[in-house]
């Protein structure tokens, strides 16, 4: 048991269990907190994959900014207990379970059938090199400048749109 294996199983189990807990809690605030746990353990998994920059960005952007926004909106709009919503239609639950289980089986079959590990062996040096801020920045500002600018423009448009949608109508 190397450290990599132990870390993968710890973070993987926490991420999986937090995801399941998130969709089964009736209180939306608790669901949001479980989603934060899930995202933090995903950041740990990114570290085991040598993606340092993305791991830090995951904690700051997802677990920090986006989830604070979610919690803010949940608390703004009365955190009602959702039990009455969930019990409204038990047939949908069975349907969702069947659909999800079937597609999961299909995906797992495809993953093991195609067996990508036969061609993809981890090259530790190249993988560490790929995750540094230096190589990501080189790639971003040399070959992907246009998408980068487009992303900035998208964020500007989203900010203006969000303010316009959420502001009080002036009669």
């Amino acid at each position: 048991m190397t450290l990599e294996v132990i870390l993968f199983f710890i973070f993987g189990f926490v991420a999986a269990i937090a995801a399941v807990m998130m969709i089964t809690r009736t209180n939306p605030v608790i669901a949001a907190l479980y989603l934060i746990l899930n995202m933090a353990s995903l950041a740990g998994l990114y570290l085991t994959l040598n993606a340092q920059f993305i791991a830090v960005a995951q904690v700051i952007v997802y677990a920090g900014a986006i989830m604070v926004l979610f919690l803010f909106v949940i608390m703004l709009l009365r955190p009602d207990n959702e039990r009455k919503f969930m019990e409204s239609n038990p047939k949908i639950k069975i349907f969702a379970f069947i659909v999800a289980g079937f597609v999961l089986l299909q995906l797992v079959y495809i993953i093991f059938f195609s067996a990508p590990s036969k061609i993809l062996q981890k090259n530790l040096e190249a993988s560490v090199q790929a995750g540094t801020i230096e190589s990501i920045g080189n790639e971003l500002f040399r070959n992907y400048v246009l998408p980068f600018e487009a992303a900035g423009f998208l964020l500007l448009a989203a900010t203006i749109g969000a303010i316009l949608l959420a502001k009080k109508k002036i009669e």
């Binding site: 190397t2 990599e4 993987g12 991420a15 995801a19 399941v20 998130m22 969709i23 939306p28 669901a31 949001a32 989603l35 995202m39 995903l42 998994l45 990114y46 994959l49 993606a51 920059f53 995951q58 997802y62 900014a65 986006i66 926004l69 979610f70 909106v73 949940i74 709009l77 959702e82 919503f85 969930m86 409204s88 949908i92 639950k93 349907f95 969702a96 659909v99 999800a100 597609v103 995906l107 797992v108 993953i111 990508p116 590990s117 981890k122 090259n123 040096e125 993988s127 790929a130 995750g131 990501i136 790639e139 971003l140 992907y144 992303a151 998208l154 964020l155 989203a158 749109g161 949608l165």
Partner: protein, 101 residues
């Protein structure tokens, strides 16, 4: 025992389908939104795993862009939910059917 890429792919598939099940069973619009974030995250995990095993930083760059789009989507979506709540006083997606004929 070494961790091959299949472990990451199976974990990511599991998280994606938990997100799908969440979208189907939850009736609270905000929680449905959070399930969409969960699905985006599982797709990100796949991309990071492939990028790391291929030794390329392009996949990580894509995750960076996905995060940007997710932030924009969350801001606009939550603003829409607030606007709907102001009109209908509910976030239950069964009662938000004003577009249904």
């Amino acid at each position: 025992m070494t961790i091959t890429i299949e472990y990451y792919l199976v974990l990511s598939a599991f998280m994606f389908l938990v997100g799908v099940a969440g979208v189907l069973i939850r009736r609270n619009a905000i929680v449905v939104f959070m399930c969409i974030e969960l699905m985006l995250n599982s797709a990100n995990l796949t991309m990071i795993a492939f990028a790391s095993f291929l030794g390329s930083s392009v996949g990580q760059l894509f995750v960076f862009f996905v995060m940007t789009v997710a932030a924009a989507e969350a801001a606009v979506g939550l603003a829409i939910i607030i606007a709907i709540f102001r009109n209908k006083l509910t976030v239950n997606i069964d009662e938000i059917n004003i577009l249904k004929w």
